[in-house]
Amino acid sequence: MRIGVTYDLVREEERLLVEAAKRLGHEVKPIFVPKMLARIDGDAPENLRGLDFVLERCVSFYRALASSAVLEGWGLRVVNPHQVIRDCGDKLVTTIRLRSRGVPVPRTVVAFTREGAVEAARELGYPVVVKPIYGSWGRLMARALSEDDLLDVIDFRESMPVSHFKVHYLQEFVNKPGRDIRSFYVWGEVPVAIYRYSNRWKTNTALGGRAEPAELTEELVETTIRAGDAVGGGVLGVDLVESPEGNLYVIEVNAVIEFRNTVRVTGYDLAGHIVERTVQEMRR
Protein backbone atom coordinates (compact mmCIF):
# COMPACT_ATOMS: atom_id res chain seq x y z
CA MET A 1 0.00 0.00 0.00
CA ARG A 2 0.98 3.66 -0.32
CA ILE A 3 0.84 5.20 3.15
CA GLY A 4 1.11 8.91 3.87
CA VAL A 5 2.38 10.13 7.24
CA THR A 6 1.52 13.70 8.16
CA TYR A 7 3.83 15.14 10.80
CA ASP A 8 5.30 18.35 12.12
CA LEU A 9 7.99 16.92 14.38
CA VAL A 10 9.88 13.64 14.02
CA ARG A 11 9.51 11.88 17.34
CA GLU A 12 10.44 8.29 18.13
CA GLU A 13 6.86 7.28 17.26
CA GLU A 14 7.06 8.70 13.73
CA ARG A 15 10.39 6.93 13.17
CA LEU A 16 8.95 3.63 14.42
CA LEU A 17 5.83 3.91 12.24
CA VAL A 18 7.79 4.78 9.08
CA GLU A 19 10.28 1.96 9.72
CA ALA A 20 7.48 -0.52 10.39
CA ALA A 21 5.60 0.43 7.22
CA LYS A 22 8.74 0.06 5.10
CA ARG A 23 9.67 -3.23 6.80
CA LEU A 24 6.19 -4.57 6.00
CA GLY A 25 6.70 -3.75 2.34
CA HIS A 26 4.68 -0.56 2.03
CA GLU A 27 5.63 2.67 0.33
CA VAL A 28 5.77 5.64 2.72
CA LYS A 29 5.13 9.25 1.76
CA PRO A 30 6.11 11.64 4.60
CA ILE A 31 3.99 14.82 4.53
CA PHE A 32 5.61 17.70 6.43
CA VAL A 33 2.54 19.71 7.43
CA PRO A 34 4.25 23.06 8.26
CA LYS A 35 5.23 23.32 4.58
CA MET A 36 1.84 22.29 3.19
CA LEU A 37 -0.13 24.72 1.05
CA ALA A 38 -3.59 23.29 1.39
CA ARG A 39 -5.65 24.55 -1.55
CA ILE A 40 -9.16 23.58 -0.67
CA ASP A 41 -10.69 24.53 -3.98
CA GLY A 42 -9.17 21.69 -5.91
CA ASP A 43 -8.01 18.09 -5.93
CA ALA A 44 -5.20 16.70 -3.84
CA PRO A 45 -1.73 17.76 -5.03
CA GLU A 46 -0.16 15.39 -7.54
CA ASN A 47 2.26 13.91 -5.01
CA LEU A 48 -0.54 12.90 -2.62
CA ARG A 49 -2.87 11.31 -5.15
CA GLY A 50 -3.20 7.56 -4.94
CA LEU A 51 -2.32 7.27 -1.25
CA ASP A 52 -4.28 4.39 0.26
CA PHE A 53 -4.46 6.14 3.62
CA VAL A 54 -2.67 8.71 5.74
CA LEU A 55 -1.52 8.34 9.34
CA GLU A 56 -2.12 11.67 11.10
CA ARG A 57 0.85 12.29 13.37
CA CYS A 58 1.09 16.04 14.05
CA VAL A 59 2.13 16.77 17.64
CA SER A 60 0.24 20.07 17.42
CA PHE A 61 -3.47 19.49 18.01
CA TYR A 62 -4.53 22.30 15.70
CA ARG A 63 -2.23 21.15 12.90
CA ALA A 64 -3.61 17.62 13.28
CA LEU A 65 -7.14 18.97 13.23
CA ALA A 66 -6.58 21.16 10.16
CA SER A 67 -4.47 18.75 8.14
CA SER A 68 -6.87 15.84 8.72
CA ALA A 69 -9.77 18.03 7.55
CA VAL A 70 -7.89 19.10 4.42
CA LEU A 71 -6.81 15.56 3.55
CA GLU A 72 -10.33 14.22 3.98
CA GLY A 73 -11.59 17.08 1.84
CA TRP A 74 -9.26 15.84 -0.87
CA GLY A 75 -10.89 12.43 -0.59
CA LEU A 76 -8.08 10.72 1.31
CA ARG A 77 -8.69 8.34 4.21
CA VAL A 78 -7.06 9.57 7.39
CA VAL A 79 -6.28 7.59 10.57
CA ASN A 80 -7.60 8.80 12.84
CA PRO A 81 -10.40 10.64 11.02
CA HIS A 82 -10.83 14.37 11.60
CA GLN A 83 -13.96 13.87 13.68
CA VAL A 84 -12.24 11.45 16.05
CA ILE A 85 -9.29 13.83 16.48
CA ARG A 86 -11.69 16.72 17.12
CA ASP A 87 -13.81 14.84 19.65
CA CYS A 88 -10.83 13.40 21.53
CA GLY A 89 -9.16 16.82 21.60
CA ASP A 90 -12.06 18.20 23.61
CA LYS A 91 -12.28 16.60 27.07
CA LEU A 92 -15.87 17.69 27.50
CA VAL A 93 -17.02 16.14 24.21
CA THR A 94 -15.02 12.98 24.95
CA THR A 95 -16.67 12.66 28.36
CA ILE A 96 -20.11 13.13 26.82
CA ARG A 97 -19.39 10.51 24.13
CA LEU A 98 -18.13 8.04 26.75
CA ARG A 99 -21.00 8.64 29.16
CA SER A 100 -23.63 8.34 26.45
CA ARG A 101 -22.30 4.88 25.61
CA GLY A 102 -22.26 3.77 29.24
CA VAL A 103 -18.47 3.85 29.63
CA PRO A 104 -17.55 4.50 33.29
CA VAL A 105 -16.23 8.05 33.76
CA PRO A 106 -15.65 9.99 37.00
CA ARG A 107 -18.57 12.25 37.94
CA THR A 108 -18.17 15.46 35.96
CA VAL A 109 -19.87 18.85 36.13
CA VAL A 110 -19.28 21.78 33.79
CA ALA A 111 -19.77 25.33 35.05
CA PHE A 112 -19.55 28.63 33.22
CA THR A 113 -19.02 31.04 36.10
CA ARG A 114 -16.99 31.29 39.32
CA GLU A 115 -20.14 30.79 41.39
CA GLY A 116 -21.19 27.85 39.25
CA ALA A 117 -17.80 26.21 39.75
CA VAL A 118 -18.17 26.52 43.54
CA GLU A 119 -21.62 24.95 43.38
CA ALA A 120 -20.35 22.17 41.12
CA ALA A 121 -17.48 21.38 43.51
CA ARG A 122 -19.85 21.27 46.51
CA GLU A 123 -21.96 18.80 44.56
CA LEU A 124 -18.95 16.64 43.65
CA GLY A 125 -17.24 16.91 47.04
CA TYR A 126 -13.59 17.84 47.56
CA PRO A 127 -11.01 17.18 46.29
CA VAL A 128 -12.03 18.09 42.75
CA VAL A 129 -9.96 18.20 39.60
CA VAL A 130 -10.29 21.19 37.26
CA LYS A 131 -9.19 20.49 33.71
CA PRO A 132 -8.80 22.60 30.59
CA ILE A 133 -11.18 21.19 27.98
CA TYR A 134 -8.35 21.59 25.45
CA GLY A 135 -5.02 20.59 26.88
CA SER A 136 -2.33 17.98 26.83
CA TRP A 137 0.49 16.35 28.79
CA GLY A 138 -1.38 17.23 32.01
CA ARG A 139 -0.70 20.95 31.63
CA LEU A 140 -2.86 23.39 33.57
CA MET A 141 -4.80 20.66 35.30
CA ALA A 142 -5.34 21.53 38.94
CA ARG A 143 -6.57 19.71 42.02
CA ALA A 144 -8.53 21.71 44.58
CA LEU A 145 -8.59 20.26 48.07
CA SER A 146 -10.89 22.97 49.41
CA GLU A 147 -13.10 25.85 48.32
CA ASP A 148 -10.19 28.24 48.94
CA ASP A 149 -8.02 26.25 46.51
CA LEU A 150 -10.82 26.15 43.98
CA LEU A 151 -11.35 29.89 44.07
CA ASP A 152 -7.62 30.44 43.47
CA VAL A 153 -7.74 28.09 40.50
CA ILE A 154 -10.87 29.68 39.06
CA ASP A 155 -9.36 33.17 39.46
CA PHE A 156 -6.32 32.06 37.47
CA ARG A 157 -8.51 30.45 34.82
CA GLU A 158 -10.80 33.45 34.45
CA SER A 159 -7.84 35.76 33.88
CA MET A 160 -6.35 33.60 31.12
CA PRO A 161 -6.41 35.25 27.69
CA VAL A 162 -7.87 32.11 26.09
CA SER A 163 -11.64 31.92 26.43
CA HIS A 164 -12.00 28.16 26.75
CA PHE A 165 -10.59 28.52 30.27
CA LYS A 166 -13.90 30.13 31.20
CA VAL A 167 -15.56 26.76 30.67
CA HIS A 168 -14.85 25.06 33.99
CA TYR A 169 -14.70 21.28 33.68
CA LEU A 170 -14.77 19.85 37.20
CA GLN A 171 -14.41 16.20 37.97
CA GLU A 172 -14.41 14.14 41.13
CA PHE A 173 -10.88 13.21 42.17
CA VAL A 174 -10.36 9.46 41.96
CA ASN A 175 -7.82 8.49 44.61
CA LYS A 176 -5.89 6.13 42.37
CA PRO A 177 -3.17 3.80 43.74
CA GLY A 178 -0.18 5.93 42.68
CA ARG A 179 -0.62 4.97 39.06
CA ASP A 180 -2.93 5.20 36.11
CA ILE A 181 -3.24 3.02 33.03
CA ARG A 182 -2.57 3.82 29.39
CA SER A 183 -4.29 1.21 27.30
CA PHE A 184 -4.02 1.05 23.52
CA TYR A 185 -7.02 0.52 21.27
CA VAL A 186 -6.14 -0.61 17.75
CA TRP A 187 -9.16 -1.24 15.54
CA GLY A 188 -11.26 -2.85 18.25
CA GLU A 189 -8.42 -4.77 19.92
CA VAL A 190 -6.22 -4.04 22.93
CA PRO A 191 -2.71 -5.30 22.19
CA VAL A 192 -0.82 -3.71 25.07
CA ALA A 193 -1.14 -1.41 28.09
CA ILE A 194 1.15 0.19 30.64
CA TYR A 195 0.89 1.45 34.19
CA ARG A 196 2.22 4.97 34.78
CA TYR A 197 3.51 5.43 38.30
CA SER A 198 4.18 8.75 39.97
CA ASN A 199 4.37 10.23 43.46
CA ARG A 200 2.43 13.16 42.09
CA TRP A 201 -1.30 13.00 41.49
CA LYS A 202 -0.60 13.61 37.78
CA THR A 203 0.89 10.45 36.35
CA ASN A 204 1.59 11.53 32.73
CA THR A 205 4.91 10.14 31.49
CA ALA A 206 5.41 13.58 29.88
CA LEU A 207 5.64 14.83 33.50
CA GLY A 208 8.09 12.14 34.58
CA GLY A 209 5.68 9.29 35.40
CA ARG A 210 7.41 5.87 35.33
CA ALA A 211 6.07 3.29 32.88
CA GLU A 212 5.70 -0.44 33.56
CA PRO A 213 3.89 -3.18 31.62
CA ALA A 214 0.26 -3.55 32.70
CA GLU A 215 -1.73 -6.72 32.97
CA LEU A 216 -4.44 -6.93 30.30
CA THR A 217 -7.31 -7.92 32.55
CA GLU A 218 -10.70 -8.75 31.09
CA GLU A 219 -12.17 -5.57 32.61
CA LEU A 220 -9.37 -3.38 31.24
CA VAL A 221 -9.71 -4.83 27.74
CA GLU A 222 -13.50 -4.55 27.75
CA THR A 223 -13.51 -0.97 29.09
CA THR A 224 -10.84 0.12 26.60
CA ILE A 225 -12.80 -1.35 23.69
CA ARG A 226 -16.02 0.33 24.80
CA ALA A 227 -14.20 3.66 25.17
CA GLY A 228 -12.55 3.37 21.76
CA ASP A 229 -15.83 2.40 20.09
CA ALA A 230 -17.61 5.31 21.81
CA VAL A 231 -15.37 7.93 20.17
CA GLY A 232 -15.41 6.33 16.74
CA GLY A 233 -12.58 3.81 16.79
CA GLY A 234 -9.31 3.70 14.91
CA VAL A 235 -5.99 3.86 16.76
CA LEU A 236 -6.33 5.36 20.22
CA GLY A 237 -4.73 5.72 23.63
CA VAL A 238 -7.24 5.29 26.45
CA ASP A 239 -6.28 6.62 29.89
CA LEU A 240 -7.92 4.96 32.89
CA VAL A 241 -7.75 5.18 36.66
CA GLU A 242 -8.54 2.58 39.31
CA SER A 243 -10.63 3.68 42.28
CA PRO A 244 -9.94 2.47 45.84
CA GLU A 245 -13.05 0.29 45.44
CA GLY A 246 -11.43 -1.39 42.44
CA ASN A 247 -13.55 0.25 39.74
CA LEU A 248 -12.05 1.42 36.46
CA TYR A 249 -12.84 4.87 35.08
CA VAL A 250 -11.86 6.30 31.71
CA ILE A 251 -10.47 9.81 32.07
CA GLU A 252 -9.51 10.59 28.48
CA VAL A 253 -8.99 9.19 25.01
CA ASN A 254 -6.11 10.32 22.80
CA ALA A 255 -6.27 10.29 19.01
CA VAL A 256 -2.63 11.01 18.07
CA ILE A 257 -0.89 8.60 20.38
CA GLU A 258 2.55 8.59 21.92
CA PHE A 259 3.92 5.15 22.68
CA ARG A 260 7.71 5.25 22.92
CA ASN A 261 7.63 4.45 26.64
CA THR A 262 5.27 1.54 26.03
CA VAL A 263 7.64 0.08 23.43
CA ARG A 264 10.61 0.65 25.75
CA VAL A 265 9.15 -1.18 28.76
CA THR A 266 7.12 -3.90 27.04
CA GLY A 267 9.25 -4.58 23.95
CA TYR A 268 5.96 -4.80 22.05
CA ASP A 269 6.11 -3.78 18.38
CA LEU A 270 3.13 -1.45 18.61
CA ALA A 271 4.11 0.51 15.49
CA GLY A 272 4.19 -2.71 13.43
CA HIS A 273 0.84 -3.77 14.87
CA ILE A 274 -0.74 -0.39 14.08
CA VAL A 275 0.48 -0.51 10.47
CA GLU A 276 -0.56 -4.15 9.93
CA ARG A 277 -4.03 -3.73 11.42
CA THR A 278 -4.66 -0.42 9.67
CA VAL A 279 -3.70 -1.93 6.31
CA GLN A 280 -6.12 -4.81 6.99
CA GLU A 281 -8.90 -2.37 7.82
CA MET A 282 -8.25 -0.27 4.73
CA ARG A 283 -8.40 -3.39 2.51
CA ARG A 284 -11.90 -4.24 3.77
Binding site: Y7, P30, F32, S60, S136, N254, V256, E258
Partner: protein, 57 residues
Protein backbone atom coordinates in the same frame (compact mmCIF):
# COMPACT_ATOMS: atom_id res chain seq x y z
CA UNK B 1 25.94 12.60 5.50
CA UNK B 2 25.97 16.36 4.94
CA UNK B 3 27.58 18.99 7.13
CA UNK B 4 25.06 21.79 7.64
CA UNK B 5 25.89 25.10 9.27
CA UNK B 6 24.44 25.77 12.73
CA UNK B 7 22.44 29.04 12.55
CA UNK B 8 23.62 29.98 16.05
CA UNK B 9 27.39 29.32 16.11
CA UNK B 10 28.03 28.37 12.46
CA UNK B 11 29.71 25.08 13.44
CA UNK B 12 29.06 22.15 11.08
CA UNK B 13 26.28 19.76 12.14
CA UNK B 14 26.23 16.30 10.56
CA UNK B 15 22.86 15.52 9.01
CA UNK B 16 22.16 12.06 7.50
CA UNK B 17 21.19 11.99 3.83
CA UNK B 18 17.82 10.40 4.64
CA UNK B 19 16.85 13.04 7.26
CA UNK B 20 13.23 14.16 7.14
CA UNK B 21 12.19 17.80 7.26
CA UNK B 22 11.22 18.56 10.85
CA UNK B 23 13.82 16.17 12.29
CA UNK B 24 15.66 17.57 15.30
CA UNK B 25 19.41 17.82 15.80
CA UNK B 26 21.62 19.21 18.53
CA UNK B 27 24.67 21.27 17.69
CA UNK B 28 27.61 19.60 19.46
CA UNK B 29 29.42 22.92 19.53
CA UNK B 30 26.85 25.28 21.13
CA UNK B 31 24.08 22.86 22.21
CA UNK B 32 21.33 24.59 20.22
CA UNK B 33 18.26 22.48 19.36
CA UNK B 34 17.88 22.64 15.62
CA UNK B 35 15.29 21.61 13.07
CA UNK B 36 16.23 20.30 9.65
CA UNK B 37 14.49 21.75 6.60
CA UNK B 38 15.04 22.10 2.88
CA UNK B 39 15.36 25.44 1.12
CA UNK B 40 15.18 25.15 -2.65
CA UNK B 41 16.26 21.53 -2.19
CA UNK B 42 19.28 22.45 -0.07
CA UNK B 43 19.68 21.14 3.51
CA UNK B 44 19.37 23.82 6.18
CA UNK B 45 19.00 24.05 9.95
CA UNK B 46 16.99 26.54 11.98
CA UNK B 47 16.25 26.89 15.67
CA UNK B 48 13.70 24.26 16.64
CA UNK B 49 10.15 25.34 17.40
CA UNK B 50 9.36 25.85 21.09
CA UNK B 51 6.84 23.50 22.69
CA UNK B 52 3.39 25.04 22.14
CA UNK B 53 0.35 24.85 24.39
CA UNK B 54 -1.45 22.58 21.91
CA UNK B 55 1.37 20.03 21.67
CA UNK B 56 0.98 16.52 22.92
CA UNK B 57 -1.74 14.14 23.81
Amino acid sequence: MASVSCPVCEAGVEVPDDALEGELFECSSCGAHLEFYLEAGKPRLKLAEEVSEDWGE
